[in-house]
């Protein structure tokens, strides 16, 4: 993460001139608000911060932010972000997207991001549905959920993002709720500061195709104050709770990051073809 020397301090400084295209009441507004707030709090330099996304309603995100942005293809925000961070460790890199992006088409990348621990922050806006394609089931839709793509009720079981991240030993795991943007901003701020792969699961309802606001208002609860974020087993217990949707920092561990270790393996020097080709003489 880079701290700017010329501070840009308010949320407004991070807002782009592009107006969000989301439906009124969409949870993603809260996530955007929280992200802008965290950026302002951290004084992230807009010229050295990149927000990478996939495809979906949520993935429109980069267009609404004044930093650099890369709106890529469905499911590939994580590998784009990791390649960028490997090549440019000096930048702050944030990957965002939806539950379809991260837990369906791009779920394989989640596993490897966890294993590599490259210093990027992932913010997943989970609305338990495919918003952009108009409400089909997603991996996080509950079992039995009826949609146009599951007219007899969803036959598969429900994906648990936080439990999965914990089981993958992701080095920073948190959950927030878009209707609680202040807490969410604080979590995103911590996630950005964390060195390593940070995963922020955000409950972000889609009032148009699957309104979960009421359900989540009832289920969301802060993690108990005594929760020790170095205790992964306990964290997993909270993640597996079938009634409550705990929000807060589940787990954090400082671990070497791949992009820094990769640059320490040898001392680099200038490439000279005359020298290099000698091995074939």
């Amino acid at each position: 993460m880079v701290q700017s020397t010329t501070p840009t301090l308010t949320l407004k400084d991070y807002k782009s001139e592009v107006k969000p295209t989301w439906c009124p009441g969409c949870g993603d507004f809260g996530v955007l608000n929280a992200t802008l707030r965290s950026m302002a709090a951290l004084k992230l330099p807009v010229d050295q911060t990149v927000v990478v996304s996939g495809i979906g309603c949520s993935s429109r995100f980069p267009h609404f932010i004044r930093t650099f942005g890369f709106h890529s293809v469905h499911g590939r925000a994580l590998p784009v972000a990791q390649g960028l961070k490997m090549a440019r460790p000096d930048l702050t890199v944030i990957a965002v997207g939806g539950d379809g992006d991260f837990f369906s088409i791009g779920v394989g990348h989640l596993v490897h991001a966890a294993l590599r621990n490259i210093d990027i922050t992932a913010i997943v806006m989970d609305n338990e549905t495919y918003g952009l394609t108009k409400g089909q089931t997603s991996p996080t839709s509950p079992h039995g959920h009826k949609t146009k793509s599951s007219p007899y009720g969803l036959l598969a079981s429900q994906f648990n993002p936080v439990a999965t991240a914990l089981s993958l030993n992701v080095s920073f795991v948190a959950r927030g709720y878009s209707a609680r943007p202040k807490e969410l901003a604080a979590l995103i701020e911590q996630a950005t500061l964390h060195r390593g792969f940070s995963f922020v699961h955000v409950l972000s309802p889609c009032p148009t195709f699957y309104n979960t606001f009421d359900a989540w208002d009832a289920a969301v609860a802060p993690l108990p104050e005594e929760h020790d974020p170095s205790n992964r087993l306990k964290a997993l217990g909270y993640a597996l709770d079938s009634e409550k949707q705990y929000i807060g920092l589940f787990y954090r561990e400082e671990r070497p990051t791949m992009e820094s270790v990769a640059r320490e393996v040898v001392a680099p020097r200038e490439f000279r073809i005359e020298e290099y080709i000698q091995r074939y003489a």
Binding site: Q48, H71, L84, A87, P268, Y276
Partner: protein
């Protein structure tokens, strides 16, 4: 006595057939000869038949040779499989303990490889050294030349130990003396001393790696696949040494996605793959084209479709490279014809990617990846690196490490610049100045959605139309700026051959041989397939009466392209067994026309 010989070694994988062949090629090259190798690999890691062929000559060698002059059989199966490719009157070297050849179309020399290794050297693994000693005694190069290569190889190997070296030396020596004492030489192949030359000896993949590094590549991401893995493995080792970064991705989509991420960060980035992986990359190639991000994608073509024949060559990804993907997607395609090209065209490919802000597909193939050639050292010059057109900056120089940190002096000037920045500005060339994250840079969002000049999503018919035209205008600009190929052969040719990729040497050798027979023939070889070198092609096509397009694929993919573009109905010569053309096969096609 002829100062040229094509030697084929047939054996079992795991017997040292390929490594023995490599040593023979390297020793001959170091001794001053030109070499050109061809090899096949079995599909399995261990066991299965394989062959190694090397053409050694005091003149530059363009192709692998029509036939073997000498066939060394390490077992009976090698004899059965390869005897058909031995020239009539050629030399068969075999182990009398394995079999006795029936035909007397050949000169035969019996050398008991197995027995010499077992009884005289008392180490069966030295069988390939015994074979090399016999080759040295019968045809050259001198024993010392081989010994030097064996010693330097072994000293670098993990198996290095004085006893093994001693055994190798003994094996070379025992076999050398055996053939000198026991065999009466009745063939014309004897490599005499030649002048030393300043050449290096390497294969296509090694040259690609050297080219990538010299071009300032600072990031590689890839997923293992035959025959492209060596590129990945070499860059995994080399990139950290020059301040670059390497990532073994979880799949090819992730690989190209990571490359585009790095490229967005201003770092020259590439991946290397083969058919199946190339297929998976399709969506991201479209993204690179739409978001106008430079990237170099090496596709080491292998025989398809599907998993096909991973260890066999084919030139059957051209159509896919040209058209693969949804929507109209401009992309650049470069195809090396030989090992030297694998180096120099990588330099060109990176410059093209940066200049035109477009993905460049680098179409090599399995035969070229593994082809060892002796190449003049002078080919390996440093490249002139022409970086991207950066907004508010002169074209930057690429470097292996991160180079995005562009500091843009004064505040007010910067604000004025920012206000007028349009990342995808409509320009006459189609090329719009871009920025790269770093202090002072003006941010923008890249997107795969259709967008306006500022990169904001935009679906207006006029804007989509104008943006499509802008993106394709870059191809027109490239067509103006990129080099045109020169015809080879008769300037008053009646028959013209048009080829692409690794077949150039065989085509040119066929042209030479046809001209020697009195035919008026020339060839044109395409190294850039998108955009097509229109001027050179039109001139060439109109200058000849008949066009022949030899290609190693079933459907005639270049012929189809030329048909679509120029209404040309060429004579198609297609080979698709997994093995490259010989010059003789192309010569026969020329003779059939005449």
């Amino acid at each position: 006595m002829e100062n040229e010989v094509t030697i084929r070694i047939g054996g079992e994988s795991g017997e040292g057939t390929i490594s023995g062949g490599d040593i023979l090629a390297l020793a001959s090259a170091r001794w001053g000869y030109h070499v050109f190798t061809f090899r096949t690999f079995p599909a399995e890691i261990l066991g299965g038949p394989c062959l190694f062929q090397v053409r050694i000559s005091d003149r530059p060698v363009k192709s692998m040779g029509d036939y073997a002059d000498v066939l060394i059989c390490l077992n009976k199966e090698a004899y059965d499989r390869n005897i058909g490719d031995l020239r009539r009157g050629g030399v068969l070297v075999y182990d009398p303990g394995d079999f006795t050849p029936e035909s007397d179309d050949f000169i035969t020399y019996a050398v008991p490889f197995n027995e010499l290794a077992r009884k005289e050297v008392q180490l069966f693994q030295t069988k390939n050294m015994v074979m090399l000693g016999a080759i040295a005694g019968l045809f050259g190069p001198p024993l010392e030349a081989l010994l030097q290569v064996v010693e330097s190889r072994l000293s670098k190997s993990r198996k290095a130990n004085p006893i093994l070296m001693e055994k190798n030396r003994l094996a070379l020596d025992v076999a050398y003396r055996y053939v000198r004492e026991k065999i009466e030489k009745r063939d014309p192949y004897q490599l005499g001393p030649v002048e030393k030359a300043d050449r290096v000896v390497l294969n296509g993949n090694q040259a690609v790696v050297a080219g990538a590094l010299a071009a300032g590549c600072g990031f590689f991401a890839g997923y293992p696949i035959t025959p492209a893995s060596d590129i990945m493995e070499a860059l995994a080792k080399e990139l950290p040494q020059v301040g670059g970064a390497f990532l073994q991705a979880e799949d090819e989509m992730a690989a190209l996605a990571a490359v585009l991420g790095a490229s967005f960060g201003g770092v020259r980035a590439m991946t290397a793959t083969s058919g199946p992986g190339f297929s998976l990359m399709t969506e991201l190639i479209g993204l690179a084209s739409m978001a106008e991000l430079p990237a170099v994608i090496v596709d080491a073509q292998r025989a398809g479709p599907s998993t096909g024949m991973p260890t066999k060559m084919e030139q059957a990804d051209l159509s896919f490279a040209l058209y693969g993907g949804h929507g109209d997607t401009p992309r650049l395609i470069v195809a090396p014809a030989n090992v030297a090209d694998c180096y120099t065209l990588m330099g060109l490919a990176f410059n093209m990617a940066d200049r035109y802000q477009m993905p460049v597909i680098f179409l090599t193939d399995q035969s070229l990846t593994a082809r060892v050639e002796s190449v003049d050292r002078s080919v390996f010059q440093p490249f002139t690196i022409e970086g991207r057109l950066e907004y508010g900056k002169a074209a930057s120089n690429g470097a292996n490490g991160a180079n995005g940190a562009s500091s843009n002096g004064k505040h007010e000037a910067a604000a004025a610049l920012a206000a007028s920045f349009a990342r995808y500005a409509y320009t006459a060339s189609g090329i719009s100045p871009m920025t790269v994250p770093g202090p002072g840079a003006i941010p923008y969002s890249a997107t795969g959605l259709e967008h306006d000049e500022h990169g904001h999503p935009d679906y207006e018919p006029e804007d989509h139309t104008a943006m499509m035209q802008k993106r394709f205008r870059k191809l027109e600009t490239a067509a103006q700026e990129l080099p045109q190929p020169e015809p080879y052969g008769d300037s008053n040719a009646e028959i013209g051959l048009i080829g692409w990729g690794s077949t150039e040497g065989a085509i040119q050798e066929a042209v030479d041989r046809a001209r020697a027979k009195g035919y008026k023939v020339a060839s044109l070889h395409l190294r850039i397939l998108s955009p097509l070198p229109d001027r050179a092609l039109r001139n060439f096509i109109s200058s000849v009466k008949t066009v022949i397009v030899p290609e190693c694929n079933y459907s005639g993919q270049l012929a189809n392209l030329l048909g679509a573009r120029y209404g040309l109905q060429p004579i198609r010569v297609n080979k698709f067994g997994g093995i490259p053309f010989t010059a003789g096969e192309i010569l026969r096609a020329i003779e059939e026309v005449c």
